[in-house]
């Protein structure tokens, strides 16, 4: 491959100098977090009872970095909390109504209201930790289960088995309907259901939904008041008019349905922002879905009526774009290591096809791409749906943006591949075309589907370790899996495989039990009625969104370290049982010794066994076997609340987190070396280039993976220089959509540039890289992730 030469700072994807003064200033204000005199840092609010809790560990189970902080948060946040004055009769109400009332009190009286200078879309303070509004006995029961849960997560996490938690967000609320009818319309609908309510549970929920929707109107009114106040003090006439217009809009939406593009964006932001308030969660995975579809009529009508120019529309979108980024203020003092502050994923989707397979991209799609390109921000995370009929010009534009940015400005989702898996999952055929991803790349339907997309994360490489050590963790000697016997006694690959499958299933069941428990804690103690108001199925069934209320309910089990596991069993099959180059006895000893003194064997394992990711049929057949076996096992299971488990491959940063707690593996990896990421091959093992790796991924048979898979590839920037090569990238993407995985992200990077960025972070602060399904500012990542990315990029395709 060609020698790479570091990109100079001015060659990086930078925010366009073409941003309007207003937008440039607002963007800068957000980015310069230390310079700001305000922060959207988490604000706790309490009922003031002795037993009150504002922090719920079960919601944070999938963030291993926070596990150790849970108890501290549980103790300290209530102490720092603002006591909310409760309305009369509060404690007489059922829990879900108390939660709704508490939400109402906070947003209508306590949540700070601030309008930034120059902004056109308002609504800024939303990071909160709301009281769970438990009464004493609920609190006691909650605490008992939570303490038990904490023990469970600590065990799973500290042994590198994985993690699980009933994670908020990670769904697409039915924003289009809320815009169409206004929240007023939703309230009318809920009122209409009251008459036929099936019982107390549904009656209570409907009351709660109505309370929360009405509360949003109050908050919007407070912003209207503030805008009026600022207008009355404003000496700049142009700004005064804008503030007057903001006040008018906030008096109207989101209670009334919006009628213009500006009103629609304002309404959407309020509706969305308050879900983060309700869930006390800074947005990860709370995804607006296909905005270029449902916002398009507002945009088109304004343009056609001459009420708005394209430039004005862009500026409004720019202002909207900055808003979700403030979620990152949540824990800004706690630290930025490990991408905690980089992986939120309020995912928007553009492009894709319609019900008849026709392309539905429109001018708003293109406008959104311009905004993405010019803003260079982490949120909202964009995802472009590509399909058979994506127009060449759009694909070219997308390819140019990928080639010109370093860590693709968006993730690419492939419709045919994604829909095939959602069909396998059993979602209604007539709805598949309107799917959209949440978080990073996790495919769901819109408005009626909670698929718990990152709720369970299982380290598949751990099952290899447990098979080699008869169910015990090598480091601690703790028993984590069943006794499957001493592997030295397995005479055939079949025997080994049977033991491995037993361990894998047992590992899965450990997580199923643990997640069932997590889900039940949330279902019993953590309703989120405002979100339930926005998800179809909840009001109708009388069940909260946390209690299997949505029309579609799934829990996704994400397989972590897939390629590490696949290559490990491939090495055993080939070298231990077929070629007998390595004996099981020696292999076990070598792994116990972390390959110290066994370098020759380690090299044999690395070099003489087939590796997934090279379009090598031998390796890929084993990888396919693993993927099919695993995902089909996952799909056999359901929670007691009726949510079916489904498979996915997204490893967030667990491939790093579990590296030290996963023993050396038979693919030649030593303990501590990072595991494989998503569905990517093990770093450095894919040597046949981007076409081969795409085919390897595609050969896995991903229709059994409805969630979708995380696949990242890296191109050296020199490979994509110039229009002809961008065309080649575009055609690569077409072929990928036919043969590869469900989603792809592309880094266009070389190690040299990254090293420069480590040396001179101040010059490279806009350098965005793709980590695992999300992008992050490279210089803000922890050193260990930085080094890992450099190692990854050093191996060019």
């Amino acid at each position: 491959m060609e020698e790479s030469i570091a990109l100079k700072p001015e060659e990086l994807w930078n925010p366009a100098s073409g941003l309007s003064d207003r937008v440039g200033r607002l963007r800068e204000e957000y980015v310069e977090i230390e310079q700001r005199d305000f922060h959207n840092e988490v604000m706790p609010f309490t009922t003031g009872t002795d037993w009150d809790q504002v922090w719920s560990p079960v919601l944070w189970g999938v963030v291993p970095e926070l596990i150790a902080f849970n108890k501290a948060f549980m103790e300290s946040l209530p102490l720092a909390a603002t006591k909310v004055e409760l309305p009369d009769g509060f404690w007489d109400e059922p829990h879900v109504v108390r939660v709704a009332m508490f939400f109402r009190e906070v947003v209508s009286r306590y949540l700070p209201v601030r309008i930034l200078d120059g902004e056109l879309i308002v609504g800024g303070q939303f990071n909160v930790a709301l009281s769970r509004a438990h009464n004493k006995s609920e609190a006691r029961a909650w605490l008992k289960d939570t303490m038990k849960w904490l023990k469970g997560i600590e065990k799973l996490n500290s042994h590198g088995m994985g993690n699980a938690g009933a994670t908020p967000g990670h769904l697409i609320p039915d924003y289009p309907r809320a815009l169409e009818t206004g929240l007023k319309g939703l309230v009318e609908y809920f009122e209409s259901l009251k008459a036929d309510a099936a019982g107390r549970q549904q009656e209570d929920l409907l009351r709660a939904l109505i309370i929360t929707c009405e509360a949003v109107r109050v908050l919007a009114g407070r912003y209207a008041d503030e805008a009026e106040r600022l207008a009355s003090e404003c000496e700049d006439e142009a700004r005064r008019e804008e503030l007057t217009e903001i006040a008018r809009a906030c008096r109207k939406v989101p209670w009334e349905p919006p009628e213009t593009f500006a009103e629609a964006l304002q309404a959407l932001w309020f509706i969305h922002m308050l879900v983060m308030v309700q869930e006390s969660y800074p947005g990860p995975g709370l995804s607006p879905g296909r905005i270029d579809q449902y916002l398009y009529p507002y945009y088109r009508d304004d343009i056609e009526a001459g009420r708005l120019t394209r430039e004005q529309a862009k500026e409004l979108l720019d202002c909207f774009w900055i808003k979700p980024n403030y979620a990152y203020d949540f824990l800004y003092r706690v630290g930025r290591n490990r991408g905690i502050t980089s992986g939120y994923g309020q995912l928007i989707t553009v492009g894709g096809h319609g019900p008849a397979g026709e392309d539905v991209s429109n001018d708003l799609t293109w406008l959104v791409l311009e905004v993405i390109e010019e803003m260079n921000l982490l949120e909202p995370k964009p995802n472009v749906r590509l399909h058979r009929s994506t127009p060449d010009e759009l694909l070219k534009r997308v390819s140019e943006m990928v080639a010109g940015a370093q860590g693709s400005p968006f993730l690419l989702n492939f419709d045919e591949r994604s829909e095939e898996a959602l069909r396998w999952q059993g979602l209604p055929e007539e709805d598949l075309w309107d799917y959209a991803p949440v978080g990073c790349l996790e495919n769901t339907l819109q408005g009626n589907d909670r698929s718990g997309t990152v709720d369970v994360n299982v380290n598949l490489a751990k099952a290899v370790e447990l098979t080699l050590f008869d169910g015990k963790d090598l480091q601690t000697g703790d028993r984590l899996g069943p006794r499957t016997g001493d592997p030295r006694k397995f005479e055939t690959w079949e025997e080994f495989k049977t033991a491995f499958e037993t361990q894998l299933k047992a590992l899965l069941d450990t997580f199923i039990d643990f997640y069932d428990f997590s889900d039940s804690i949330r279902a019993r103690f953590e309703p989120t009625p405002y979100l339930s108001a926005l998800v179809r199925g909840c009001a109708e069934s009388g069940r909260d969104v946390t209690n299997a209320g949505p029309e579609h309910n799934y829990v996704t089990v994400e397989g972590v370290a897939f390629a590490t596991a696949a290559d490990s069993i491939a090495a055993i099959k080939k070298l231990v049982y077929e070629e007998r180059l390595v004996s099981m006895d020696e292999l076990v000893k070598a792994i116990e010794a972390n390959y110290e003194g066994y370098e020759k064997m380690r090299q044999t394992l690395i070099n003489k066994a087939p590796k997934y990711g090279n379009d090598d049929d031998e390796a890929d057949a084993i990888a396919r076997y693993l993927s099919r076996f695993w995902t089909e096992e996952v799909f056999k299971r359901s929670t007691p609340t009726g949510r079916r488990y489904r498979g996915g491959y997204l490893s967030w940063n667990y491939w790093i987190a579990y590296a030290p707690t996963t023993a050396a593996t038979p693919d030649g990896r030593k303990r501590g070396t990072f595991l494989s990421n998503g569905l990517c091959p093990v770093d450095g093992t894919d040597r046949q280039g981007p076409t081969a790796v795409a085919l390897s991924v595609g050969k896995l048979g991903l229709e059994t993976v409805p969630n979708g898979d995380s696949h990242t590839i890296t191109f050296n920037p020199t490979l994509l220089k110039g229009s002809e090569r961008v065309d080649k990238l575009a055609s690569y993407l077409r072929a990928y959509g036919e043969k590869g995985g469900t989603a792809l992200q592309i880094n266009v990077l070389d190690a040299e540039t990254l090293r420069k960025a480590q040396e001179k972070p101040e010059d490279y602060k806009n350098l965005l890289v793709r980590v695992t399904g999300y992008n992050a500012y490279f210089v803000m990542l922890g050193r260990e992730i930085q080094d890992e990315i450099i190692a990854r990029e050093s191996h060019e395709l």
């Binding site: 020698e3 070099n607 379009d615 280039g689 076409t691 081969a692 220089k721 110039g722 080649k728 055609s731």
Partner: protein, 317 residues
């Protein structure tokens, strides 16, 4: 991998030193390039020195060697010696049987060049069919010099034609007109390397007379098939404005060339030379700058060739 004492070699087999997928420099679209071993030229800058001689060669990768010494035991001809300065390969004694490579746990020894039947090569090529179809790409047969192994190349081109895969014949032009014409008939297009116009310089830099190369250029240009000419821009060898101007006027007189690419000198192949116990004369020579490439491309425009482009890594100043 190695074909130890294969029973009856297929007369159509060829010696291939690499099958490179996702080739985006060797013709239109996304391609797979089949590199044939053996070349009649000896260009001082050759980027693929492992393609020069026809027979397989043993390569030793110093960075991979862990000193396990299994190779020494495996060698029945006493051709290897691990010294303090690295592996010494007795290339007279070595028959490239590949036993040492097989024995090496670390993959530090490789036999470069192996025999493929046309079917085997085609099977590899066909894997990326979807990428060719979507990109207007296909297979390029290159080298080394493909016309040195015409039976294999003809059979492979035929298979691709049957399979609907677009093909490009990438030649240095130093070939008999009959062989070239025969292969060209089976290919969809040709890529031709033109390096130096001056006769003495051509002989000095490539080791051969330019006349057959220019004759080949005429054959290709007159064939009616798309022809892309490529010129490596090598500092001190091919990169003078005079040389580019002379090539331009030759091409102007020739007509029928669709495209002319100037490929900037790439300095990353030094380690390949040392692995073959060869010396690379261009070690340490700096890359071209972007301005220089732009200037040369400007001169190349005078050829009247429809499309002139340059590519490659350049030096930041």
């Amino acid at each position: 991998m190695s074909s130890e004492k294969a029973p009856a070699p297929d007369p159509d087999s060829g010696t291939v030193f690499n099958i490179q997928r996702f080739s985006i420099e060797d013709g239109p679209g996304i391609r797979t390039t089949v590199f044939m071993k053996g070349c009649p030229l000896r260009c001082t800058w050759c980027h693929n020195p492992e393609g020069l001689v026809l027979k397989p060669q043993l390569m030793w990768f110093d960075v991979r060697c862990i000193g396990a010494r299994d190779c020494l035991a495996a060698c029945t001809r006493d051709a290897l010696e691990l010294t303090r300065d690295g592996m010494r390969i007795d290339r007279e004694a070595c028959d490239t049987c590949g036993d040492c490579a097989k024995a090496c746990p670390a993959g530090a020894l490789e036999v470069v060049g192996r025999s493929y039947t046309p079917d085997e090569a085609y099977e590899e090529v066909y894997r990326d069919e979807a990428f060719y179809r979507n990109s207007g790409g296909g297979m390029t047969v290159s080298g080394g010099e493909p016309t040195m192994q015409p039976r294999f190349v003809a059979a492979l081109l035929r298979k691709c034609r049957e399979g609907g895969i677009h093909t490009a014949l990438d030649t240095c032009g130093y070939s008999s007109p009959e062989v070239l014409t025969g292969l060209l008939e089976l290919a969809d297009m040709a890529l031709l390397d033109l390096k130096v116009m001056d006769e003495a310089e051509h002989r000095r830099l490539t080791g051969v007379d330019p006349a057959p190369v220019l004759d080949s250029a005429r054959i290709l240009a007159g064939s009616g098939k798309p022809v892309w000419v490529r010129t490596p821009i090598i500092p001190g060898c091919t990169d003078s404005p005079e040389n580019i101007a002379a090539l331009a006027s030759f091409l102007a007189g020739l007509g029928g060339v669709q495209r002319w690419d100037l490929l900037a000198f790439n300095n990353t192949c030094g380690s390949k030379y040392s692995r073959l116990d060869m010396v690379w004369e261009l070690e340490g020579v700096p890359l071209k700058t972007e301005d220089e490439m732009v200037e040369l491309a400007g001169i190349a425009e005078r050829s009247g060739v429809e499309k002139v482009a340059w590519s490659g890594v350049t030096r930041h100043e």
